[in-house]
């Protein structure tokens, strides 16, 4: 309590506020331009199976866009096409005005697309903190001799990485677990850690693959709040795959419904829910 009134503390806040404003201006200037992600007529087939068929989407800055559809509808394949795990057979993927079709995964990540995985993929044997630090590798701009001789630059950068990672962990509420092994965290925390790790890339677009999978109603509600907080705090755009219709209606500004690789409907959650084709696919399908 006493600390909060000290001049040093106030000064610190002033500096932070200034920085935040600068960032906000930067974001606003970006916002006015192209959509964050645009996919044009993307196709991907495996053998004879059309995993995605003529898929197009436009995601504007700051949106939360949902991808829904029954199992095998091609949702994760879309993620894998965006992040470069597969190269699409046809079509174009444009991110912040740049064509990223067929770029390798690490390039796509470096350009500012972070992602999580359906079946969580953490660096299980490493500490929670290291999981996040590794993802901010782009800020580690020292070279090998500097690392070996522990030059000033190395020390400064490592400190910065550490602070940044701790800051992110604080935001997701895992700061107390920083030194624990990632695999020892409970399931819900692992999901949060995966999001924190993706945020360490300073992404402009975050792809969430079924973030509420395996969660009960209460936990999903908490997740909805959490994702919204992340969006508002970092001013990012989110594309998420989700099965839980309540999560989608609560969270998404727009959504796209897929079935067997084909786009069934696009619109706000309310519009989509009343679309007869969607109802048929869902009631006649497996969910």
């Amino acid at each position: 309590m006493s600390e909060m009134n000290t001049p040093a503390y106030e000064q610190k806040i002033a500096i932070l506020e200034e920085k935040l404003n600068a960032l906000e201006n930067k974001v606003n200037s970006l916002e006015s331009k192209d959509p964050v992600l645009e996919m044009q007529h993307v196709e991907k087939h495996f053998g004879g199976v059309h995993a995605i068929d003529n898929f197009s989407v436009k995601i504007e800055h700051g949106q939360i866009h949902g991808l829904i559809g029954p199992n095998g509808a091609g949702k994760t394949t879309i993620f894998n096409n965006i992040t470069g795990i597969y190269a699409p057979d046809a079509g174009k993927i444009i991110f912040m005005g740049e064509d990223i079709t067929g770029s390798p995964p690490h390039k796509v990540a470096q350009m500012g697309i972070g992602r999580t995985f359906q079946n969580i993929r953490l660096f299980s044997n490493l500490s929670v903190l290291d999981n996040v630090i590794i993802a901010s590798g782009m800020d580690a701009t020292y070279n090998l001799p500097q690392a070996i001789f522990h030059s000033d630059k190395f020390k400064k950068r490592e400190k910065l990485l550490n602070d940044k990672a701790m800051n992110l962990l604080e935001i997701v509420g895992l700061q107390d677990k920083a030194n624990e092994r990632a695999s020892s965290l409970p399931y819900g925390h692992q999901r949060k850690l995966e999001i924190a790790r993706a945020m360490a890339l300073d992404p402009k677009l975050l792809l969430l693959d079924e973030p509420a999978a395996g969660m009960n109603a209460d936990e999903s509600l908490e997740l909805v709040d959490f994702v919204r907080q992340i969006r508002d705090h970092f001013k990012i755009t989110i594309l998420m795959i989700e099965h839980h219709m309540d999560v989608v209606s609560n969270l998404c500004d727009y959504c796209t419904v897929l079935n067997f690789g084909k786009t069934l409907a696009v619109g706000t959650p309310a519009e989509v829910k009343s679309n007869p084709e969607v109802i048929r696919a869902y009631l006649g399908g497996n969910e």
């Binding site: 994760t76 993620f79 894998n80 992040t83 795990i85 995985f117 359906q118 993929r121």
Partner: protein, 290 residues
């Protein structure tokens, strides 16, 4: 000369194929290269030597016991070691390291019991070469060729036409799905180890008859490993084609270029081939799904 070399090459390739198909079968089921596989051949050959030369059993019976010995050791490795490693959920690399350890153990044990001495079967074939179209062909080569051909045809029949083969192919596709559908996965895997071990035993005895039996002869397993990689890991027909290719290449390099460069050419072929076809001739490229 050419025909003679060719037949020799094919017959050596046949011996490789007996081992390489074992590598492929096990790889297709468990996604790891059973580094100890060559040692099953060596142990099979030693079992046969013991029964034929020391106990004095008739050669055919001793050979049969040798084959059983190879199969038994292979089975025990699966039952006692590999199954345990699999049950810990360790990465596949650990299975391979375990196999490497087993290989070292078998080589050392053979060396301690039998010493490094080269041993040969007392059994001799009545005619050692016959002349066909001006080429002198070793009777042993021909016998080994015919025997391998019969065994390999039987193996392909077993995999493609029987219930056992169907189970094995199902596990290779998706072990968990196979288990759900009622395939007894562990039992099938154990049977494959028995089968692969007995093929290795045959290979070891044939190799021992052609050359000698010695503790490090398991290194032919390495050649078979190369052959199965050339053919594409996990593919039985690929393993056979790869083995024949390698056998012929080796004999021709030894015959026309230099026998001391033989291994260089085999491995160079392997590396170049993999650069052109990263999954071997018949291999399937599996992607890690995110």
């Amino acid at each position: 000369m050419f025909l003679q070399q060719f037949i020799t090459g094919i017959s050596i390739g046949g011996i490789y194929a007996l081992l390489a198909t074992g590598y492929s079968l096990i790889y297709s089921l468990l996604d790891f290269s059973n580094w100890a596989h060559g040692e099953f051949a060596m142990l099979g050959a030693y079992f046969a030597i013991v029964f034929a030369n020391m106990v004095g059993l008739p050669f055919m019976l001793a050979a049969l016991l040798g084959v059983c010995g190879g199969a038994l050791i292979s089975f025990l490795c699966e039952k006692l070691v590999y199954r345990h490693i699999r049950s810990t959920g360790a990465p596949n690399m650990f299975l391979m390291i375990g196999a490497m350890g087993l290989s070292t153990i078998f080589q050392q044990v053979a060396n301690l019991i039998f010493t490094g001495q080269y041993r040969s079967f007392k059994f001799k074939l009545p005619v050692s070469t016959i002349e066909i179209a001006g080429a002198y062909l070793g009777v042993l080569d021909l016998i080994s060729l015919v025997l391998t051909a019969v065994i390999l045809v039987f193996l392909i029949y077993l995999i493609n036409k029987t219930k056992f083969g169907l189970n094995v192919r199902a596990i290779a596709c998706n072990a968990n799905a196979a288990r759900v559908l009622g395939v007894r996965v562990d039992r099938s895997i154990a049977s494959v180890f028995l089968l692969a071990g007995s093929l290795a035993g045959v290979a070891g005895i044939l190799y021992g008859m052609k050359y000698n039996v010695f503790p490090t002869m398991g290194n032919i397993g390495l050649k078979a490993f190369v052959a199965s990689v050339v053919g594409g890991l996990g593919s039985v027909p690929g393993a056979i084609v790869g083995s024949l290719l390698l056998g012929v290449l080796e004999t021709f390099v030894s015959g026309y270029i230099s026998s001391s460069l033989r291994d260089f050419f085999s491995f160079a072929l392997l590396i170049v081939l993999l650069l052109v076809k990263p999954s071997g001739l018949f291999g399937v490229d599996v992607q890690d799904k995110a």
